[in-house]
Symmetry: C2
Subunit: 224 residues, 2 copies
DNA sequence: GTTGTGTTCTGAACATGTTCAAAAAAAGCC
DNA sequence: GGCTTTTTTTGAACATGTTCAGAACACAAC
């Protein structure tokens, strides 16, 4: 049985060697082009060793995602300190993730292929990825809190999740964006962020209560 | 070399047998669980024969999609005749496609796994799938034309594509919807369709010109 | 009918993700 | 140190998508 955490320091080191080899080869050759035998050889172990630490080739891609999440965790607090402007904050979060993924485009697409299967344990909406998802949503919660925009109380709970969904949408767009430097995704992000921030601001006006509540009801009914 | 169209009637018949066997097994056992050997055996041919007609297992999934598209082509005209109400028309189109896919949920997810890779020939945004995509977009164009809602001229070109994108979004939501009878997707569709139809109506008001044009500019810049 | 040519089909071979029984190494215990 | 137990590692075996050289077949030309 594969264990969650290697027991010994040496095992931990072997595990690291395998991830490093895998990510390096994925980056250089692509996900499909890299074989588990290549990875094992590069890490200096037998093929089976990779399967002792990772249940499948796909779990190695997940290791990549976990690394980006850890990196983001380290970087985001200082980014939040730079400004209280909501638009800048949201832009910074999404821009950071996009930049991380852009460095490993093909690998990220392999991840998307895995994630789009709702039955797959590594799907972004599944329960196995819950902590990663929650952390990502909390980033948006933190961006809202202490920002220069007042958020109506009844939006407090849902808005972070909605913004996270919005980011997922932008990332989906980015996957299919073949413009140089992903310029089109940048354009979309700039244009829609303006719209979103303005909508959030407007939603606070007294007149908007009924509209906001109606929308909220639809969203809740659809996502419960 | 694999040919586009089989030359003889017998070959055409073999091809059909292979598709039928594949779809039947996919439906009964699931895409991943069905092997090419199973398919060939069920169709009464050698394994290699399947590869004579289809370049890969994935192309067999595409055959499924093509069948649903053909079915939709047959059904949509009569549906359009039933009402000129825009909301009903849009609902009918999307509901038809959702119902078709719901009958083969797991198979559709295999299709999604293929389609999310922008480099894959069968991606819904690629040039190989252009005619299927255009046909799908044209369905929305037909729904708009002769509907009870007047469409501003500058929206004529883009709106069908935007509605198609909206449908893609709903389908994406549906993929992850595990509620019984896909009730949540139905709720989302009902709620957002109201919003969309109202937005389209509002966009025709003289006051909305600048807003509409600004949004159009963003969309065009992002999708050129 | 024979020959030639293009089409359809076969089944063995190959590549690669994955499994697993057993060996090797490490850790724990006296 | 020697013994037992647990962890780690090995490499061959297996399953399945895919390829391919050639066999079988169909059909036209003569």
């Amino acid at each position: 049985m594969r264990r969650e955490k290697p027991a010994t320091a040496k095992a931990e080191e072997t595990r690291e060697r395998i991830v490093d080899a895998a990510l390096e080869l994925f980056r250089k050759e692509g996900f499909d082009e890299t074989t588990m035998r290549d990875i094992a050889a590069e890490a200096g172990v037998a093929t089976g060793a990779a399967y002792y630490y990772f249940g499948s080739k796909e779990e190695l891609v997940m290791a990549f995602y976990v690394r980006t999440a850890e990196e983001a965790r380290g970087l985001l607090p200082s980014i939040m300190e730079r400004s209280t402007d909501l638009r800048k904050r949201l832009h910074a979060i999404i821009d950071l993730r996009l930049s991380q993924f852009a460095k490993h485009r093909r690998l990220f697409i392999a991840l998307a292929r895995i994630g789009i299967d709702p039955a797959h344990p590594l799907s972004p909406f599944g329960k196995d990825t819950r902590s990663l998802r929650d952390e990502s949503i909390d980033a948006f919660r933190a961006a809202l809190q202490g920002s220069n925009v007042r958020i109506p109380k009844d939006l407090h709970d849902e808005l972070p999740t909605l913004l996270w969904l919005y980011m997922m949408g932008v990332i989906l767009f980015w996957i299919f964006d073949d413009s140089p430097g992903e310029a089109r995704t940048r354009t979309l992000l700039d244009g829609t962020l303006d719209l979103i921030v303005r909508l959030i601001q407007l939603s606070g006006l007294p007149l908007m209560g009924p509209v906001r509540r109606r929308l909220l009801r639809t969203i809740k009914a659809a996502t419960i």
